[in-house]
Each structure stands twice: as C-alpha cells, then as structure tokens.
C-alpha cells in the first residue's frame, strides 16, 4: 500500500493508515485500555513494518472503524466531496490500485467535459494468501495471538 501511495501522491491522492483496535491481541501488543497505549502501539507499524504513510488513530471506542464496518484490514476510497467510491472488507494493493487508476481516469474525462453519470457496481476481487507472513505477524504480537488464532481456525492460517 505504501507503493501505491507513493505512485499516486503526485496526483493529489492522499493515503493514510487509520489505526484501529488490535485484531489479534498478544503479549507484546495487548488490547488497548487507554488512548496513549493505542498511540504507543501504533508506532510498531513504523518500527517493525516500515509503514511510510501518515498514521492516524481512531478513537479508543472505534467510532470511525465501526461505522465503516469494523473489519480488521479494510480499505475505503473517498472522493473530494466525501462520497464512498470504493470499499473493500480486505486490503489488497492491486485491487485498490486498479480502482484508483479508474477514478483518476474518470476525473480526467470530467475535466475533458465528458458527461458522466454514476452507477453502482459490486464485484469480488482476489488477494494472494500469505500464510507465512500472516503467521510472522502473529508471532510478533506474542504467543497468545498465535494460540488464539490457531484455536479459532484450527491451526489453518488463512490470510
């Protein structure tokens, strides 16, 4: 996602990471009790994963996260007027990139005075499973996170 953020930054596309609850709380990254704890744990994205986008925090109660669906790794794309253009219940950079390419082309067509009318479309996209990478993430969170995921899904790492 950082790659596409960089790719589109010169076209007035803003990309942010919005920090939510801990989906898989572990010993190193436990569930949040305070906003300061949440702020501190968000630093792990930079320190351990090298996230380069601006990171913002949702409220401790998860107001924005819950209003937008509460899923652990969603991506949403908004227009300048706040219209929801794209929503996905899982983040896949290729899917987001294809959507952003499309909407930037729409903006160019509008500037060229083409008359465009919106319509709604639903589709299913596909992401590559990365069980090893997902498991490494759980290990970083702590043994508790690994154990609980294994117990919930029978040891089958589905990410």
């Amino acid at each position: 996602m950082d790659r596409i953020a960089d790719r589109f930054a010169g076209r007035n596309v803003k990309s942010i990471f919005l920090y939510t609850n801990e989906a898989h709380p572990g010993e190193r990254y436990p569930h949040h009790r305070t906003f300061e704890q949440k702020r501190r744990q968000s630093g792990g994205l930079v320190e351990e994963y090298g996230v380069g986008r601006e990171i913002y925090l949702d409220s401790l109660e998860g107001h924005a996260h819950l209003a937008y669906g509460g899923m652990p790794n969603m991506t949403w794309v908004f227009s300048r007027s706040g219209l929801v253009l794209y929503k996905s219940d899982w983040t896949d950079a290729r899917s987001v990139e294809s959507a952003v390419d499309y909407y930037l082309e729409v903006a160019e067509r509008r500037r060229a005075k083409q008359r465009l009318a919106p319509f709604r479309v639903e589709r299913v996209d596909f992401h590559e499973r990365n069980a090893e990478g997902f498991h490494r993430g759980l290990v970083k969170a702590g043994p508790k996170a690994v154990r609980e995921f294994d117990e919930a899904f029978g040891g089958e790492h589905k990410a």
């Binding site: 996602m1 596409i4 589109f8 596309v13 803003k14 919005l18 920090y19 939510t20 609850n21 801990e22 709380p25 572990g26 990254y29 702020r39 744990q41 968000s42 630093g43 792990g44 351990e48 994963y49 986008r53 601006e54 990171i55 913002y56 925090l57 949702d58 409220s59 401790l60 109660e61 998860g62 107001h63 924005a64 819950l66 209003a67 937008y68 669906g69 509460g70 899923m71 790794n73 969603m74 991506t75 949403w76 794309v77 908004f78 300048r80 007027s81 706040g82 219209l83 929801v84 253009l85 983040t91 987001v96 903006a107 993430g137 759980l138 969170a141 996170a145 995921f149 117990e151 919930a152």
Partner: protein, 74 residues
C-alpha cells in the same frame, strides 16, 4: 464537525482482550456500512505523533481521492 454518535460497542467490547469468535464477531458490521455512492460519515481522527485532531472530511476535501486503510499492528 458535530460530535459523533455513541459508538455501538463499549470500549471493552471493541478492544476485546482475546481473539475468540464471540468477541471479534461483534465487530463484523461491514454489511451495515455505508454503500458505495453514499456520503461517508465524518469522524475526528488523531495524527499519531503530534496527537493533533483532524477530521476525515478535512482530508477528503483537499484531495482528488482519499485512500484510508484501516488496521493495526496485529
């Protein structure tokens, strides 16, 4: 920006302490979220380092597009 309505879950339910279905399934609200083509609800958010508050609308207003990835370390 107006004050957001109360969150649908308590702080404790939202920040569940264990990844067990009876806890994490309470957050599965995607089917009830705004539809594509609707205006997105606005909320305050806080920049990680400075702690400065800004609203989502401040960000989408100033840009052709705003991409928001939701997530956490875990």
């Amino acid at each position: 920006m107006t004050t957001p309505p109360p969150a649908p879950l308590s702080v404790e339910d939202y920040n569940y302490d264990a990844f067990v279905e009876e806890k994490f399934s309470k957050l599965s609200l995607f089917d009830q979220s705004p539809a594509a083509g609707e205006k997105g609800p606005d909320f305050p958010i806080w920049e990680r380092r400075s702690g400065d508050s800004i609203s989502l609308s401040d960000l989408w207003r100033g840009h052709e597009l705003l991409i928001v990835e939701f997530g956490s370390f875990t």
